[in-house]
Symmetry: C2
Subunit: 227 residues, 2 copies
């Protein structure tokens, strides 16, 4: 039991230090009027693919940058650099989430000029990233229709904390037994004011609702900053 108590103390200390750094990041991007989103999902839910489609749709009108978190490989950052935006890869070694210190260090290394939108793609994991504030405006939980409709109640931490749940790969719906109404019910139970957007980068319904949500959030942040 002594080991457990020590683990709890160390964890509390780590989270407190993380929160301090996250607030510094949040203050910086409040000054710059940058909307910061922290994307969290299982491996393979389509975070990078949604980002590619978002960048393709918005890069003419907004300055966009991305920070990619992975255990190994530069693959995701390379995919976004191929879209001609600044993208930095954080390799966590074995850690199952990003923390605010890593984001802070990545921003320093990128020497990032002010942007309108900063997307932080967390390590593929529905659990560990939940407790780590990265200074974002909001967390986005992604859930692909192929993962099954039981996931919000099985991973309640993230779906309770994410202001937005993006259902991805909706074009595969006809090939699954995914029940959208059950996901809505679970998400609304865990976070009554949470938003749900249904997306597909390969067919209907597309990503229009997602893009509108991102643009609205940016506009609202800027208005709030001018008050």
């Amino acid at each position: 039991m002594q080991g457990t108590q020590k683990t709890v103390d160390v964890r509390k200390q780590v989270l407190e230090e993380n929160s301090r750094r996250a607030e510094e990041i949040r203050a910086r991007f409040a000054r710059q009027g940058t909307l910061v989103l922290n994307l969290i999902s299982s491996p393979g839910s389509g975070k990078t693919t949604l980002l590619e489609a978002t960048v393709a749709a918005l890069r003419e009108r907004y300055r966009i940058a991305a920070i990619e978190g992975d255990i190994a490989t530069e693959r995701d950052a390379e995919r976004l650099r191929a879209m001609r935006i600044p993208a930095h890869q954080i390799l966590t070694g074995g850690a199952c989430h990003l923390d605010a210190r890593q984001v802070h260090d990545a921003l320093e290394r990128m020497e990032l000029a002010p942007v309108d939108l900063l997307f932080i793609e967390n390590v593929g994991n529905l659990i560990c990233p939940t407790s780590y504030d990265l200074g974002e405006d909001f967390k986005v939980a992604l859930l692909s229709v192929v993962e099954g409709h039981d996931k919000p109640f099985k991973y309640p931490g993230i779906f309770a904390r994410a202001q937005v749940t993006a259902i991805t790969k909706a074009d595969l719906l006809p090939h699954t037994d995914f029940r959208m109404d059950e996901v809505h019910e679970q998400v609304k139970t865990l976070r009554p004011e949470g938003r749900i957007v249904v997306t597909s980068v390969r067919g209907q319904p597309g990503i229009g609702e997602w893009l509108a949500l991102v643009e609205d959030a940016l506009i609202q942040k800027r208005r709030a900053g001018q008050r």
Copy 2:
């Protein structure tokens, strides 16, 4: 840095204690001739669905039991109890993996009579379960074709440790750009002697190769035990 050192020490202590308990579990099931598999994957890769199909195919000939790990909900254990096998749900609260103590306690609570096959379904996570020995004969990593072929190199820890990689949801292959040859290459790099089986519970190729692998492993374990 002091916090980091403390974290490392505590983690080492936790893993050492885990290994001791895992060896006790392994010794018990060596005596009983039970084959124990630890199934690890992202959320929604189809662990429970593969288990349901496995139980349906093998329960006439073998005694089977399951231990289910989840953060929340009894849903998976209920699915397996509906197949009329002993199934115990471990709820980790927030922890992103099972440990050997939890498996030990679950076995006590189940008052499990000797079985031929024990399946331990880990918490949906490709990262945290990697380091925790549960006393299994081998780890099985599941990867659904919808998650993308870049996953083994992005999550090398688990694909290096899993003796078997099961590619799931192969019936959805025509709707994805999943490249099977790239997955084979990555898995073979990470674990040259690793086995890969391609499965689908809804169409071709079915789960025959997987069932044969499980039965062979059980027979081999029993032969080795008689020597």
